[in-house]
Point group: C2
Chain length 310, copies 2
């Protein structure tokens, strides 16, 4: 498996368009030692130059254009992108589907709950059905491996399987109460475990951190690419003066008792990489104590363009 990070920030990106926090101000002024980042977007390839997108970020058009391996072959519409796998219905996971509306047959893998949110109360996504053949939705069931074929015509890539892993969490605030009542909450947010050639890659850009299932999958993987939205539980409350804590928003903070670093401290032999870092996270500053603490604990921090082989 080849894993490519096209975007590494949380929703809004870094810097965020309307934010005047210390990190955003300093990166705009060119005085922060760190990198600008588009919103979290990952692609995975198993064979034959075909790619699956993990979520569809709001910056997806820009991300595709900046990485030439995603350009179509000359004189055709033969994009190497064959499908998208969604981990939630959050805006920053799904908005980019609308970038893909240009009459392109694609497969979208999602839980039934996420699919219902998009297709039953967001008519914009009908633009995806104009393709010939139209976009096809495939269901992901918790714990059930699915062959995510990289090239359905040739049957290549059949060795790549994806399993939806329950991580806790809730459907986004924007979902209507009427629909929410009819959706099983375990379908709201999932992690993805990919297996190919005896290797495992676990992806959870939104990690509420409830239950033990996510930790088992992360600990048994060769590569874990995990949610790094917030450094502390009260990070946004302190910046805004009010609002929800990290845990209330469905993000296990990195630091503190029972935070991600704490929960992972006894795990061995897993390449551990952080993604989906919010603009307020002090670790974005490469000279910060938080950044140093992450590196000392054996974590890498994903950057736009980073590639990993599993």
């Amino acid at each position: 498996m080849r894993v490519k990070v096209l975007g590494s920030a949380a929703g809004g990106g870094f810097p965020q368009w309307n934010c005047g926090c210390s990190n955003c101000n300093r990166i705009r002024a060119g005085v922060l030692k760190g990198r600008v980042r588009t919103q979290a977007q990952v692609a995975i390839s198993a064979a034959h130059g075909k790619w699956l997108l993990l979520n569809a970020s709001p910056d997806l058009r820009q991300q595709i254009l900046e990485n030439p391996e995603f350009a179509p072959a000359e004189e055709t519409r033969s994009t190497p992108i064959v499908g998208i796998i969604l981990t939630s219905a959050d805006v920053d996971c799904v908005m980019g589907l609308l970038h893909l509306r240009e009459f392109q047959p694609l497969v979208i893998y999602a839980t039934a709950g996420v699919r219902r949110v998009l297709t039953e109360e967001n008519s914009l996504f009908r633009t995806l059905m104009r393709a010939i053949p139209p976009v096809r939705w495939e269901s992901l069931e918790i714990g059930k491996p699915v062959g995510v074929h990289q090239d359905s015509a040739a049957g290549t890539g059949a060795g790549l399987h994806c399993t939806a892993v329950s991580v806790g969490g809730a459907f986004p605030d924007y979902v209507s109460d009427a629909l929410r009542r009819n959706l099983p909450e375990q379908e709201a947010v999932i992690g993805l475990e990919f297996c190919a050639d005896g290797k495992r890659f676990f992806y959870a850009p939104n990690l509420p951190g409830r239950g033990e299932e996510w930790k088992r999958h992360a600990s048994e993987s060769n590569l874990a690419l995990l949610d790094a939205t917030f450094w502390t539980d009260d990070e946004l409350v302190r910046v805004r003066g009010s609002g929800k804590t990290a845990r209330e928003m469905g993000h296990l903070p990195l630091s503190g008792a029972n935070g991600l670093l704490d929960q992972f401290k006894d795990v061995k032999n897993v390449r551990r990489v952080l993604i989906h870092m919010n603009n307020t996270n002090p670790a974005l500053d490469e000279e910060s104590p938080a950044n140093r603490e992450l590196r000392d604990a054996g974590w890498e921090i994903a950057t736009d363009g980073m590639e990993m082989d599993v």
Copy 2:
């Protein structure tokens, strides 16, 4: 009035992510004399460094970051962007509203019909209501000037007025039949006439070209920034082998009998600029006969970053 073009292409941009047409292939290969273009996005400023966005393109985050005058003042969330005026509910006019979801109070001006499409059958846009105060929707009625204040607190910019102009056209295909039946079609697609200090600017990035109203407003303006999606009526049909004509899609083609150039040939004293050019339009090639014909007829072609004073 200062008018700034942040994006100048039609939906999908140039190049388009999955397109292997001659224009897209050549711009990717660096052998087309022309410019890459993000999706159509215009901003207008009347006073005090505050800006109104005309539509909200899918590329809006990238466009804001690339133009430093839209960055917030240091240490605050005081974005100079105070509102958005929508001309239709097309994906490429509205998707960018989701880029603006970061808890920012804003005013969105739209016809009641466009507002209903977004708020009644697209729950994603509820993310805009999290701001304190939440995003405020203001109705545009055809033919009725509205003061689009640049700074509602101080009352500055009160001299800038916007009038919705009927241009024909239909609601997008994605809108449900049930809602469509209840919406007046004249609210589907509008042009915008701005007046300040005795000057007029007319904006119509989607110009079906029906009726005479649009032509009167365009002809009487100091600056007309108009739909240049397609060069010929059958342009997309020839590229794809099937599909709708330009006119059937709600775009008056530039060339041919009764096309935009033909209809505008006797108009004098209007600065005329083209925007919303589709990736298939031959005029994107600056060495093409189409491009030469446009320039010979007195038209300019908008590029990303272009600024105009009216």
